[in-house]
Symmetry: C2
Subunit: 335 residues, 2 copies
Amino acid sequence: MVTLKQLAEQLNVSVSTVSKALHNSEEISKDTIQRVKELAKHLNYQPNRMALSLKSNKTKTLGVIIPNVLNHFFAKALYAIEMEATKQGYNIITCLSNELLSKEKESLLLLSNGSVDGFIMSIAEETQVENNMEHISAILNKDIPVVLFDRVAEDLDCDKVIIDDFGASYEATKHLLKEGRKHIVHISDIDELSVGKLRKNGYLKAIEEDANYKNDPIFINIGKEDDLEVVIDDLFKSHKNVDGIISSDNTSGVVAQHKALKLGYNIPEKLSIIGFSDDNVLAFTDPKLSTISQHTMDIGKATVELMIERLNQKNSTKHETKTIKTKLILRGTTK
Amino acid sequence: MVTLKQLAEQLNVSVSTVSKALHNSEEISKDTIQRVKELAKHLNYQPNRMALSLKSNKTKTLGVIIPNVLNHFFAKALYAIEMEATKQGYNIITCLSNELLSKEKESLLLLSNGSVDGFIMSIAEETQVENNMEHISAILNKDIPVVLFDRVAEDLDCDKVIIDDFGASYEATKHLLKEGRKHIVHISDIDELSVGKLRKNGYLKAIEEDANYKNDPIFINIGKEDDLEVVIDDLFKSHKNVDGIISSDNTSGVVAQHKALKLGYNIPEKLSIIGFSDDNVLAFTDPKLSTISQHTMDIGKATVELMIERLNQKNSTKHETKTIKTKLILRGTTK
DNA sequence: AGCTAATTGTTTGAGCGTTACCATAGACAT
DNA sequence: ATGTCTATGGTAACGCTCAAACAATTAGCT
């Protein structure tokens, strides 16, 4: 890499002159500025990032910790985060916690040595289950900003971006109730997660509020070890009269639809399905799955925006929680 | 952040003593070493990454440039790369080219200022279409190592990790021929990509070699603007007698299967399907889709391994191209 | 005992590539 | 002379490491 020193030597001026010239300093003569810039361009000079960071104590880099990139929601969030960060002149260092507390801890630790200006993260499952947030508090105590998205923790004092999981689920369930459904099932593979609980409660609330709904709520939990398809097969075996399904993740709604069609359920006449899904699954469904759109791009964007704001006025201002609107998109699997 | 200087002041020794003590230098007395380490631990000292990098001219960071994270193959590759990099003590800065030459160029440029020790990348579609590799050569000329995976460029002199696209497609087609299929279609949404061409040619070769196969090859190209579902509907309309399908991407095989089943095709009795798919789509298929497994985890791992090798012996050794084995996995959509 | 020589433990200083601040040299005006 | 520009150079600092210098002790030798 070409350095200021090399430019200075070739031009027979001092390093500081070169530095100033490249910054268009008033102190330097037009002529010198031009000579310096020409050579710099010619030699393809780029200021060394590490030296800059060392000097300024800013890295222009964000640490992004994602529980699972193979989950479409997080892949899309990463996509949105990368886009917005790039737009704002930041790079992202991506770490995957793989839902493990240990990996999350390690990433946080390893990057808190001046590698990044702040962290954007969604909390790993294990971390939420064990409710162990010390590693995150530790980062906050070091005055490194953290913005949480989607899976957040109540008691962490930092910026957050969430959706109204409770409300979205409540609304979707209400819709099924309005259709007159009497046996509505809630399927979830994220029962222990904050968002999972909220979605479940939204469903529950809607059902409990409905005076005409006489049946008990039905919760189907997909455990880590469970085979989604088997669980859903079992569901239809044990609950032949199910006529509404709310799925709290991207895939189980689709699988439920497939299984139901195979069993001869008439969708949406006899059975309605709504999934917390992205449109990447639509091509696999017929009729097209009705979904709760999470506006993942907006989530990612808002996350980065909050972070940058925070970085630009580190101290002051109270922490903010931004709620991104969801949207119930009715397609072919609902009436 | 705590610095050596702060430790030194508190302990009344010089900065270099502290530095050496933390490195267990022989020169420092046991006693001092212990005192230093205790305080360091107590104050949670972490060496400043930027200072280290500036000094050593190593960042322990890799730039990873991915064409599209929403594509499951790349998400999985990213996953594998992150895992292996972390294992080897490297961080990754992730950039998404979104299939654009301009974005790819920019990422390469921005990170080549000492931000990373090397680049791992799969080439953007636009870059391959325009066959413009100058930005990558430029990086190589700067002596920054690059490892390409999956989508590579013949004439770039660097390490590469690929699969035998031609062979895999050839083998899969052969299988369909062995089943006695007479109207085999090749569906692709990556026709302009190096890998797309190879897969197509593998299919073609197998068909041409088969003396008993009398029909013309049938190529279905999914363009950027096309609606996959519409194109596949059209396929079945215009080629009612299709009895074999090779799909060169993760989703079109699945969609083809759905459409075919809906139209009443008997799978696999009357129609066989093989996709270049990962197992994430299996839950959406019934019978289960037969696939060419690309061993994406191995690809990612090999990529990082090649990179680390290269970094550890920068000069010397000729560049290597590693071919990861594929595997034809026959499930329910083939006989 | 009295000297050098080796050993031990520490400090000094330079340098990685930058930038910010301060200093200085020369030209010119007062 | 003194002051005021203009254009440039020098130095320190960011946090770290490494080579070299140094001081203080200990060992070795006559």
